[in-house]
């Protein structure tokens, strides 16, 4: 049921007379990818749950005007990335915390094992990722965990492939340094 192509899903949404059903299929197709993308950025399940619902509600509101030039997958990832980054900014503003402190609160979450199932090495990797600037973190996650092509990341983040490669390499080196230090 979730194996429909994006084109087919959009066609169903616009022309089947039952856009709600078509939208449900879109949610089912992309929910896990979007969830993990968000979760890796905000770490907490409850926050991720709020964000993913917000992402799909925004998608539903915008789908009527959506033109498939960029692809459904790219578009959803872009909404999700923006939502996650805005969420982290809001969090920082709400608590009047410097950015570093928000990162530290995320590291504490990893340390406290709330929903964390990995081993010590994976924990170290997560902590290393949290030391990266937000954009580098997004790029690293997309490439390392989601195994995306630079071309796809470029479309989502609207950044040149060259800049993304540089960003990813820089991030990977920093993580390597962090791991070797700890």
């Amino acid at each position: 049921m979730t194996n429909y192509s994006d084109e087919k899903l959009l066609d169903l949404y616009h022309n089947s007379g039952n856009p709600n059903y078509a939208f449900d299929l879109i949610v089912r197709k992309y929910q896990e990818k979007i969830y993990w993308h968000l979760r890796r950025l905000v770490l907490d399940h409850e926050d991720t749950n709020d964000l993913i619902q917000e992402v799909f509600i925004k998608a539903w509101k915008g789908l009527e005007r959506f033109r498939s030039d960029s692809g459904l997958f790219t578009w959803l990832y872009r909404i999700a990335t923006n939502e996650a980054l805005s969420f982290l900014k809001r969090k920082k503003r709400r608590f009047f915390l410097p950015w570093q402190d928000v990162e530290e609160s995320l590291i504490t979450k990893v340390d406290s094992n709330q929903g964390f199932t990995g081993n010590e090495i994976q924990k170290l990797l997560q902590k290393a990722i949290l030391t990266l600037p937000e954009k580098q973190r997004v790029v690293f996650n997309m490439r390392y965990f989601d195994e995306m092509k630079y071309e796809e990341i470029s479309q989502i983040l609207e950044t040149s492939e060259g800049a993304l490669k540089a960003s990813y390499h820089h991030a990977a080196k920093k993580i390597e340094e962090y791991i070797s230090r700890h």
């Binding site: 081993n119 965990f145 195994e147 390597e176």
Partner: protein, 163 residues
């Protein structure tokens, strides 16, 4: 998605220790979460649709559009009529306010001049003693200026200079 080998090769060059990691996300999700998530999203969507439906069904979209057009027209018409009828403001004052201000100032000044004339020093200091000598008392003088004087038509400065 990119070929895994390509990504590993790339990592080997940049960060060899990362290549050994699995690349799995080490977080757990509550049981059946992905089964219930679509339903939760559907519920939120339906609530939103209901809300929108309630607002529009009360007004009705065509009626709402007409009402909006009429309201905009009335606002513009009202604004232009108000602009025409309201006296033009000048330095923050309307014509009426300027007139009131000047009238109050002028009347005050006039009263003060008369007060001086009738009761006080001005009368004593006046040069034309012969003229004032024709009046037996202050009341006669007041009657005189009330009858012949045209001070009301003069500016406060003229009244002041006339003394």
């Amino acid at each position: 998605m990119e070929d895994k080998d390509k990504i590993k090769k790339e990592l080997k060059q940049v960060a060899p220790s990362l290549e050994k990691h699995s690349g799995e996300t080490p977080f757990s999700v509550p049981g059946n979460y992905f089964e219930t998530l679509p339903q939760d999203i559907r519920k939120r969507r339906e609530q939103l649709q209901k809300k929108q439906h309630t607002v529009f069904s009360r007004l009705g979209i065509p009626q709402f559009a007409y009402a909006l057009t009429v309201a905009v027209f009335l606002i513009f018409a009202g604004y232009f009529i108000w602009q025409k009828e309201t006296p033009q403001a000048m330095n923050g004052y309307t014509d009426d306010a300027l007139f009131d201000e000047y009238f109050a100032y002028y009347a005050d000044y006039q009263s003060a001049a008369y007060y001086d004339m009738v009761l006080g020093e001005t009368l004593e200091e006046a040069e034309d003693e012969e003229f004032f000598a024709t009046f037996d008392n202050e009341d006669e003088f007041i009657d005189y200026i009330a009858t012949y004087g045209d001070y009301y038509m003069q500016s406060p400065i003229d009244v002041e200079n006339s003394w």
